[in-house]
């Protein structure tokens, strides 16, 4: 698998995801600076977490108009897989590659903790390593992660099975207590209709190493590496 990681000036999870990708496929991804307009020939593009451009306007809003993201959108349209994690998910939503919006958390505070999420669909190159309905534990760390979409969009997402991950309790129930940020329907991650783009708020790259207490994020990188080998 050849992968590229986009680096904005305020990205801060670029190294973390590069480490997870290298573990999964044996070689390091290409790091692509935000001012680039060309991308190398890759199978996977990762938009990492962080505070791209400081996120002073609205998380992901400025990044969506960066030179590199126009190229990412073109590649995505051509079928290249795109994974957006945390701030990367916010960027993908702001570019319109995924629907809806990510709003300030319900409690109006940054939230950093390990949460349970349920794999809603194992039918994608990103989630092939999980089982449908599997409950996994991943860290979250964000201030603007409350997923919002209008009713029609939500219905479409549900009808087409495009919700990738949902916040749940340890035993798999969707409820307010298990929802860390007030996301509608507990949505933690989404696919595009072709399932070639995934955006999610939790950080699988921080749960890909036994020393860190969880390896629940590892199957995502492993299944990508296997599918895109």
């Amino acid at each position: 698998m050849k992968a590229a990681v986009i680096v904005f000036p305020g990205s801060n999870c670029d190294r973390d995801v590069a480490v997870a990708l290298r573990q999964a496929c044996g070689h390091a991804p290409v790091m692509v600076w935000h001012r680039e307009t060309e991308l190398p020939d890759v199978d996977l593009i990762v938009v990492p977490g962080g505070f791209a451009y400081g996120d002073y306007l609205r998380a992901g809003a400025m990044s969506a108009h960066s030179p590199v993201m126009r190229t990412v959108a073109k590649r995505a349209a051509a079928g290249v897989r795109v994974l957006g994690i945390c701030n990367g998910f916010q960027v993908l939503v702001e570019t319109g590659m995924l629907p809806g919006a990510l709003m300030t958390n319900r409690d109006l505070k940054f939230v950093s903790r390990a949460v349970h999420v349920r794999v809603e669909s194992a039918d994608s190159v990103f989630t092939d390593g999980y089982r449908d309905g599997q409950v996994i534990r991943l860290p979250i760390a964000h201030h603007e992660g409350s997923y919002f979409a209008d009713d029609n969009t939500l219905r479409t997402l549900e009808d087409r099975g495009l919700v990738a991950f949902r916040y749940v309790s340890a035993d798999g129930a969707v409820n307010d207590d298990a929802n860390p940020n007030g996301s509608q329907s507990g949505i933690a991650g989404l696919f595009n209709p072709e399932r070639t783009v995934l955006g999610l708020m939790p950080h699988p790259e921080r749960a890909a190493d036994p020393d860190l207490g969880s390896t629940d994020g590892r199957p995502m990188f492993a299944s990508l590496a296997a599918a895109l080998a």
Binding site: P9, N12, G50, G54, K109, S112, A208
Partner: protein
Amino acid sequence: MRTPAPDPEVNQALGTEHGLTPDEYAHVVRILGRTPSYTELGIFSVMWSEHCSYKSSKKWLKTLPTTAPWVIQGPGENAGVIDIGDGLAAVFKMESHNHPSYIEPYQGAATGVGGILRDIFTMGARPVANLNALRFGDPSDARTRYLVAGVVAGIGGYGNCMGIPTVGGETEFHSAYNGNILVNAMTVGIAQADRIFYSRAAGLGYPVVYVGARTGRDGIHGATMASAEFSEETEEKRPTVQVGDPFTEKLLLEACLELMAGDAIVGIQDMGAAGLTCSSVEMADKGGLGMDMDLDAVPLRADAMSAYEIMLSESQERMLMVLKPGREDMARAVFEKWELEFAVVGTLTDTGRLVVRRGGDVAADIPVGPLVGEAPEYDRPWEAPPGAAPLPDGVDHMPGPPEEVLERLLASPDLASKRWIWEQYDSTVMADTVAGPGGDSAIVRVHGTTRALAITSDCTPRYCKAEPKTGGMQAVAEAWRNLTAVGAKPLALTDNLNFGNPERPPIMGQLVACIQGMAEACRALDFPVVSGNVSLYNETDGEAILPTPTIGGVGLLDDVSRRGSLALTGEGETLILIGQTHGHLGCSLFLRDVHDLEAGPPPPVDLAAERATGDLVRDLIRDRLVTACHDVSDGGLYVAVAEMALAGGVGADLRAPEAPPLAAWLFGEDQGRYVVATNDPNAVLARAAEAGIAAAAIGRTGGNALTLGGQNAISLGKLRHANERWLPAYMAGSAEAG
């Protein structure tokens, strides 16, 4: 450019307004051989402020041990540096931002984090962990909730954006901090041991370069503010608090580390307190050189700034560096890539003078040697602190069922879970956090290795108030113990000494005695001080804070898989209490929060026993003889076991001995003790006996409640509710918080 307003006339009265005593002002005139210019007065006043000159504490700081074979750099640089093997070094320091955080909590705390981060990456280290030690006033004080909310959001806002995990710290409440909260921020970084950058200028004619953010009027006289007591007019000082921009700092971090990978930099110093003044003077002084600076070249954010304002601005996210000649263009390209300012603002000279020009005129011309070398150093009169009175009789009675007392203590502000705080800090970014907030020490893996740093921050101010020397000793011992409790070898510490007005002999006496206690403990435990910060004048309307020498400790785990955790994990394991138990209740939380009595001497610290006990516990963890380990500190044994049970979700039954009395056994705060859980009690007891350390089986793990000899059951659910509920309820303004 609009012309700056004309400078006021300089005289002794203006010197007084700048915080210089009449003697100090006369000394300035003597050094210069004339009346200082306004800019010169500003420069002297900040360089000679308590904050920058350590004039009250220097004499005593010199008595702290600062060396060990693994110490690469002790106090005197931006941060301390220790060797952690494999060609790597840990670079760390703790620094206060107390005064600004009280005035403007969000920005005060945020820029405190920004400042300490800069201290670390200035030395060529990539920051890998942040901690913070916070002390607030009484929860019932009207301002406390606002300060907690603002400080926590500010710390999170800065560290989270930088992408440096905030992995630990401590938070306490006491009415003595009502008018002066403490915000002590610590950062640990990792560098190549042979690639450390220092602040010494060198190279006649070499260019002096300004990088980072532009200079504005924010923070002018911050250092002077931090060197004075608060009064009713504190609100008026809000404009002297700086405003932070973590995004710019992130760019500055990456740009500096990128440039540091090459060989362009000769010396580098961040602009913290007293901004351009302090950085230029320190660099020149350490190099024994002069510096000519043209302030017209400084990138400005505000119009018509005078030389005085530019030299004293504390605008954030700025650095000053000396480059090798001819490397300017290469360095400029790096900073332009990161969209930061880059300006050659001066050159190094052999005059030994700091010459500052603005609009072609000389605004300051000061001999650097005397400016630094003749800074006042005071041997302030001090009174030996009185010893604490003995406890009255009868304080060891249990005022109700012990499990209800435990429940009450776990819900008290100091022992209540601080989850509400640390869940606002990204603790897992950088993907090396092995143990985050909530344990005895945080554990952060050295990236790409199986080794890890253990990091903690500790102080027990109520002990320091009662007996400052014991308190100073205990703070060092507790940090050492917390590192040990996760299996790490303690290597060195940074200290942040927070005290009241040193011009009052009883306060100076607290400072002296705390330092004496610290020094003794550092020596006994081979645990030197490598960096630190002093914050004095923490008083409002004559009321001083509790003496608070915060200790930030750093240790090393050679193999991260052999680490200790406080969480009970298995059923039917034996709990063993290691260390001597006398049932010391003086200064305990039990007395304070249950009997409403702040009295008695603090628990004595036996440093030889401390060391022997810790060495034993570290070996037990390394040899995998224990499944859980927790030091016994605030609240005593019962609280320690409850914390272990809550962390692991496994209950325990304790069997109390005949003596001491039950309350003293459960809640006494004797030092130098650990509780461990083990499947092999005979081996653990034998190892303790071999080492001559007291150890006794005190119970077994299992179930989902805590019991005492099978009685007095209290469910973990109930304890968890008590422990987790207080802070969120308090912050929500709920009556439930009491």
